[in-house]
């Protein structure tokens, strides 16, 4: 089968700092694959490995800095055969509908496909909307939250967890499936995989035109920190532990 996996390249939130005016600064942040999209790539790679003769291509849409050699290699070192990336500053911070519109363009360039796997939600907005919007753009069925995924007799067999029940679902391809993070633990790529990744095909292009957006971002600011007393003791000081226990007693 031919598998596509969509992933988002985002600034590492560990590197995001708060500027003096309360705005967030990600200009010095490293670009990484959004955390739960790594689980999606792993689920896609395992599906490929379980079905002999399958292909796996990754698709991604983002700003110019998403065209980052280390991040692209990271994607290609995880069992992915080929990458289609649209990187352009007019594609920064798109809403889910605009992202899906652009991803659909890459889907059409990536050749025949049976299933598109997407992650649970991206690190920034965690909207859980891009997969369903992509399914709408491509006019195919969509199932979200797969905890298990296999391909049997031409159909996808999916298990997923809702809030209080699980469901077993059969889905004809082509389809879009979002996977729950617990479906697969991302692999740690070996040196050989990383070296091989450098030789795999990368198709990087600019945007054809600025996509139409539905949502306007009014502001992004650091949250107000709760004012905490920060009374911290040290257990290695003789009386630190006792003082801490007394302080806790007072609270309770």
């Amino acid at each position: 089968m031919n598998i596509l996996v969509a992933c988002k390249i985002v600034p590492d939130d560990q590197d995001i700092t708060v500027a003096s005016d309360g705005s967030l600064d990600s200009s010095r942040a490293h670009e990484i694959v959004s955390q739960y999209d790594l689980n999606a790539i792993e689920a896609a790679a395992q599906l490929k490995e379980a079905n002999e003769g399958s292909t796996l291509k990754a698709i991604s849409v983002g700003p110019k800095k998403a065209d980052d050699s280390k991040t692209k290699k990271d994607i290609l070192s995880r069992g992915v055969d080929e990458l289609y990336l649209m990187a352009d500053d007019s594609l920064a911070d798109l809403d889910s509908r605009a992202t899906a519109t652009e991803l659909a363009k890459l889907v059409n360039k990536a050749g025949d496909w049976d299933v598109i796997i997407v992650g649970d939600g991206s690190a920034d907005d965690y909207a859980k909307q891009t997969g369903v919007q992509l399914a709408c753009a491509l006019d195919v069925p969509y199932v979200a939250g797969a905890t298990n995924l296999s391909f049997q007799e031409g159909n996808l067999e999916i298990q997923r967890n809702l809030e209080s029940e699980s469901e077993d679902i059969e889905l004809a391809v082509p389809a879009v499936v979002s996977v729950s993070p617990e479906i697969a633990e991302p692999r740690i790529a070996g040196m050989r995989d990383i070296l091989k990744a450098g030789k795999k095909p990368q198709n990087v292009e600019a945007a054809e035109e600025k996509p139409e957006e539905s949502i306007e971002t009014v502001s992004i600011k650091a949250p107000k920190q709760a004012d905490r007393k920060q009374e911290v003791f040290d257990a290695s000081d003789g009386e630190g532990l006792d003082k801490f226990v007394s302080a806790v007693k007072e609270v309770l």
């Binding site: 939130d13 995001i16 967030l24 889910s96 509908r97 920034d124 907005d125 965690y126 909207a127 859980k128 909307q129 369903v132 919007q133 709408c136 753009a137 069925p141 969509y142 199932v143 979200a144 999916i158 997923r160 967890n161 809030e163 209080s164 029940e165 699980s166 469901e167 077993d168 059969e170 889905l171 004809a172 993070p181 617990e182 957006e213 539905s214 949502i215 306007e216 971002t217 992004i220 600011k221 650091a222 949250p223 920190q225 709760a226 905490r228 007393k229 920060q230 009374e231 911290v232 003791f233 040290d234 257990a235 290695s236 532990l241 801490f244 226990v245 806790v248 007693k249 609270v251 309770l252």
Partner: protein, 294 residues
């Protein structure tokens, strides 16, 4: 103006209808759960066929939405309603605003980067779709009629087949109403060490919770026990963060707690800047000392 509420739980329906009432003259509730009366001007109820998934009810949802004449959609962020909201947003040529925890004059406030930031955004389209987090509106304020109309399930051309369903093991974890929580993080090197936290929690009548790695990484806890951006958001009177470093992704789940008490062996852990009382020390020494003293 009319508002369209998409919900599957009674609590979700109540809260969202109460919120919709603040911004709209007429409120239509669409649910595939149990019909809820007295919260909207009309409850549209759809019974999902046994072999279909609720996500595939979108042709019926979209048609009911069009008929309602609503311009605003408030949706409950469950797995299935999230997908229906996405289908509806695409149908109405817009994108749903996710993770909304406040809504004023069309501007939604959402968590950004797992709580690293707060994002305000506003749909620029004719129709606005918002996924509203639990607790954003007061469900007791909901008012409405007892009118319930059944809606027919119209299958999409290509649909999923539900082959079976099973109840997930019911968790006895109730973080939402707990007034004390003892949350465990990566500082617990071995699963058996969790007993120290359980003993302490049972002594003070607290619920035991965890950070994401202990639930999704090593499976020491069910996912209901996980506090953080994609897990539970809790507001107990007292929150013990034991062996938790204090990353934003976790803290967004407990920032509104009354008092935060931190136990961590790393004196540079960010949790010490976000706690009221803390101790730098080995949880294997500190927890037994607390259990003994309290």
């Amino acid at each position: 103006m009319n508002a369209f509420v998409l919900a599957e739980t009674e609590n979700g329906a109540r809260e969202l209808c109460a919120g919709a009432r603040q911004i709209a003259d007429e409120v239509t509730l669409f649910t595939f759960g149990n019909a809820v009366t007295g919260v909207a001007d009309k409850c549209l109820h759809l019974q999902i066929p046994e072999d279909a998934i609720a996500d595939d009810a979108y042709p019926s949802v979209n048609e009911s939405f069009d008929a309602s004449g609503a311009k605003v959609v408030l949706a409950e962020p469950t797995v299935r309603v999230t997908n229906l909201a996405g289908r509806l947003a695409a149908h109405a040529n817009t994108a749903a605003v996710p993770g909304v925890n406040a809504l004023k004059d069309g501007v939604a406030t959402s968590v950004y980067f797992g709580g690293t930031g707060v994002k305000e955004s506003k749909p620029e389209t004719d129709v606005s779709v918002y996924l509203i987090s639990a607790g954003t509106f007061d469900g007791t304020q909901a008012t409405g009629t007892d009118t319930v109309e059944e809606v027919e399930f119209k299958a999409p051309e290509k649909l999923a087949v539900k082959k079976g369903t099973a109840a997930l093991p019911k968790s006895d974890i109730d973080l939402a109403s707990a007034d004390k929580i003892v949350a465990c993080g990566r500082g617990f090197a071995k699963e058996e060490d969790l007993q120290l936290a359980r003993d302490f929690a049972s002594k003070i009548g607290a619920e035991v919770a965890c950070s994401r790695p202990l639930s999704e990484g090593v499976n020491w806890f069910p996912r209901e026990a996980y506090v953080g951006v994609s897990g539970a958001v809790v507001k107990p009177d007292v929150y013990f963060a034991v062996g938790i470093s204090g990353q934003m992704q976790h803290m967004v789940g407990c920032n509104d707690s009354g008092t935060v008490i931190a136990i961590n062996s790393d004196k540079n852990a960010p949790i010490f800047k976000q706690c009221d009382v803390g101790i730098v020390g080995d949880l294997k020494d500190v927890l037994p000392a607390l259990t003994k003293a309290l």
